[in-house]
Symmetry: C3
Subunit: 101 residues, 3 copies
């Protein structure tokens, strides 16, 4: 397999349908990243310290949500520049990784 150096990204939000759907659509339609996966957490808290937790199965609007994607370091840098005004500070984490293809 060929190995390509990438930057791996995790963006932390809560499960506000519209906002996260907008970000995924943008990564898909405009930024054209290689792939995106969205995960819903079962509980968590952010810098505000306020706990988000699933107490009722049908009340998932306030749960943590992670939008995960990866692409070349240059492309991720460009995407993060575009996202800067849309994501709260401290909610984007990146690290170097390798994709095997």
């Amino acid at each position: 397999m060929k190995q390509i150096e990438i930057t791996f990204v995790r963006v932390y939000m809560t499960d506000d349908e519209e906002r996260h759907a907008h970000l995924v659509k943008r990564l898909h339609d405009e930024e054209k990243v290689r792939g995106v996966t969205v995960f819903r957490g079962v509980s968590g808290f952010g810098p505000s310290g306020r706990m988000h937790e699933a107490r009722l199965v049908d009340l998932a609007l306030d749960l943590p949500l992670v939008i995960e994607f990866f692409d070349t370091p240059e492309k991720v840098r460009r995407i993060l520049d575009h996202l800067e005004d849309q994501i709260a500070p401290g909610h984007i984490v990146t690290w170097p990784a390798t994709v095997h293809e």
Copy 2:
């Protein structure tokens, strides 16, 4: 965006409500980490080799659970020292990452 070097942590447990809730509460109340997200896996196994799997929707107590958090390397080192006696060996994984804020 400003970039801060952090240590990213994933702690692997099974879905024993009390034990993981205790850990999240501790990270929140005492260690005051920047944020924690808890994810439930749909199946998995640990060093024991015993499979954990969701066969019944309402029987989720034995599913894998990951508690994810990040903070400065010094703070994470201190937290891991505190957790040493509470988490089974081989169930904590860390790597260096960058938070954008």
Copy 3:
């Protein structure tokens, strides 16, 4: 705690029961990795660009699935050699990490 250098692996698939169950079984029975966790995403897309999304709770067959595991760099290299023909190109991501035990 003792620290051991590992390679952390995430394999991206969709929720085709048989295929992912086969991979987990193989990692368990044959490769004997230290542990595997499977997570189901709530939406996502891969290199094909086609969106996978949960619209109906009971129609989860097409959702993204991540199979996560870690082991020593040598062992992971050997496992990835074995998986080469089973996983679509660009669907395996790895990075160096540390396990605490």
